[in-house]
């Protein structure tokens, strides 16, 4: 009889899910109302934009790269949409333009990274500065989106009502759909599997005949699209655009991806993990707000420690699996 061995590769993500449940449990024990479904749904609503951005970041990190321009693209997209709507443009055109810009920008970054062998860190860093500045050129102040028919439609009609005052908001639906598509893409399509191959060993992938350049540029393009989509979601979430917002968001996205079980060296991890990474981050923040006694800078310390814990665990697992493969 074959004994069931828990596959090593599922350990990190299982750990994340476990942590999520443990923290949730602590919250429920400690506070009334923490267990209400509203809290759970709010996690999604408040973090949908981060989740979408984390999906793109996860894919990039799986190729062994990194994307630091995420937060700035979100800010730029949101202020662009807000400005265009305020100038009388139809919201749908604004959203379409924003998504196109995101795609093109991602493509540009991917092209620079691959074709000139520039480090992804630098290119996306420069990209971050560049597009943040562009956001300020669009508008220095935040702009509200008021009385726009498209946005009102999204807000009021595209919500699935679950009764008892709870709604599945449109932005949450968008996030879940993108997540499912990304999971399918990374696990079941050739391009997705190529991403894993490139992240694991780029040279071997090239020798295998995988179109490395094309795939890498495509990954950064997808990341750009995800960031722009996150920006659209953010604009819907705030009903405003603000060039100053989302500073440092890319670090939150990276933390979420790491907590979700993806190795920064690439090739290992699941896009699904980023969902739980985002949820864990949101949960910790919720816990601290509910308590109200802890100073908010503890959030940073706790998140830092959590990331550390996960890194240690991933390290350990890698060492164990390496030593196992040696003895075999």
């Amino acid at each position: 009889m074959k004994t069931f061995k828990f596959p090593m590769r599922y350990v990190p993500i299982s750990a994340t899910i476990l942590v999520f449940f443990i923290v949730y449990l602590i919250g429920i024990i400690s506070f009334q109302n923490f267990g209400s479904p509203k809290v759970f749904l709010d996690l999604f609503v408040d973090n949908a934009y981060l989740g979408i951005a984390a999906i793109g970041t996860a894919l990039v990190i799986l190729t062994g790269g990194i994307d630091l321009s995420v937060g700035s693209i979100i800010a730029f997209t949101s202020i662009l949409i807000a400005k265009m709507i305020a100038s009388g443009c139809n919201a749908l055109w604004a959203i379409a333009l924003a998504l196109v810009i995101g795609i093109l920008f991602g493509m540009l970054q991917g092209w620079l990274i691959h074709c000139f062998s520039l480090p992804p860190f630098l290119v996306t860093l420069a990209g971050m500065f560049f597009i943040r500045g562009c956001g300020f050129i669009v508008s220095e102040e935040s702009i509200g989106i008021k009385n726009d028919p498209v946005f009102n439609f999204i807000q009021n009609d595209l919500t699935i009502k679950l009764g008892k005052g709870m709604n599945l908001r449109f932005i949450v639906i968008v996030y879940l759909v993108v997540l499912i598509m990304a999971i399918f893409f990374s696990q079941r399509t050739r391009a997705g599997r190529s991403i894993y191959a490139i992240g694991d060993n780029e040279l071997a992938a090239t020798l295998m005949g995988i179109p490395v350049g094309r795939t890498k540029i495509m990954t950064y393009t997808i990341a750009g699209f995800c960031s722009a989509l996150a920006g659209v979601v953010y604009a819907v979430y705030l009903k405003a655009g603000n060039p100053l917002n989302c500073v440092g968001l890319e670090m939150d996205a990276i933390a979420a991806v790491v907590i979700g079980g993806t190795l920064l060296t690439g090739g290992v991890g699941y896009v699904f993990g980023s969902l739980f990474g985002v949820l864990v981050l949101g949960l910790i923040q919720t816990l601290i707000v509910f308590d109200g006694r802890i100073n908010s800078w503890w959030t940073r310390i706790i998140v830092g420690l959590l990331v550390l814990a996960f890194i240690f665990m991933q390290n350990l697992i890698t060492k164990i699996s390496k030593s196992k493969s040696k003895t075999q």
């Binding site: 050129i137 800078w297 890194i311 240690f312």
Partner: protein, 430 residues
Amino acid sequence: MNKSSNKFRHLVWPLVSLALLLLFNAIFTDNFFKIEIKKSDSAQAVQAPSVPVESPQPGTSWITPESYDNAGDSAEAAAQAAADGVEAAAQAEGAVQTIASEAEQQAPVKKDGKGVSIFGYYLYGTPIDILNQGSKVMVLAIGMTLVIATGGIDISVGAVMAIAGAIAALLISMLDAGNCIGAGMGPSFYWIIPVLAALLLATLAGFWNGMLVAGFGIQPMVATLVLMVAGRGVAQLITDGQIITFDNPGLVFLCNGHALFLPFSVWIVAAMYVIAGLLTRKTAFGLFIESVGNNERASRYAGIEARRIKWLTYVICGFCAGVAGLLAASNIKCADSNNAGLYLELDAILATVIGGTSMAGGRFFLSGSLVGAILIQTLTTTMYMKNVSPAIVAVPKAMVVIIVCLLQSPVFRAKVLSIFASKAAKGGVQ
């Protein structure tokens, strides 16, 4: 190719860019190169307080009237300590590089003979500002260059700066409360304690990073991400969430005082570069770093203690961050945990890369990092003088970085040259 020119080849493009920028300024910016010689106002130095003032409680923001006037006095004391080789740094502010602050304290001629008397004159002008304000990034770039040369990275330096500034401000305000400031007299050397504490804490932070990277083998980006995220939280813990201001003349002198016509921060930078240069080029240390960065496994086989070398580079980087943090805090006479050193790690990395050090590790160029830091600061200052909003400053900065990186990329150069070669219809690509 001439072999000897290889030694400075990495400096070509950064220097060219810097020269172009300065040329642009010379033509289009009024007063850019105007340097005046200002005389320090010795009349300010001796003014007894007109009202008795209690010493400040720790954690309160408090500028006593006479410390406003006597700020210049202890410039000397600080200069003395500087002569002893103690270094400290001051704090930067928000996401944007700032124009240099001018000498806050104009060093008066010393009356009580406590320290080195500094000539009562100093230079004043935009190029001086660039050097002063850029001092933080220049110092950070030293440590960053060494870390990147081993193939790693340290994104926590901004947070470490905040921690260093926080502990210095906290200790100095506690000490100042203990010793009545009075008329700015009394043993004014106790400011060394916060400086040393800040440097120690920063070095420990570097030690922590080194432990994670070299000791546990964690990827540098992630390992330093931990401190970057948590570090600001720690800094706020130290200051209890407040902005602690201080006015201790010794501490303030670090970024605001002058010695021999130039801002004191410039001398700190110069001293650190000289020490770093000697350490890396006159000992085997630099060779080992390059070796580890180039091929860690081969270095180990050659008998180099790769782990120890890497660990040490992170410690040095932490120390540099401590110096920069002290400079930043001294600059605005307070410790702002939220904004100190924000995004300066990115500038330091940019400066390093512009200077020719590859992010993959290997050969490093401290001189290049220095030029890179000056280039970045000049760019920021130019934007300011052109009344460009701070946020938009980031755009040309990003473009310059990309352009310089492209110019340094052999792939890019090959492609460009091949275009020219094929156009000229001559054989032989370089």
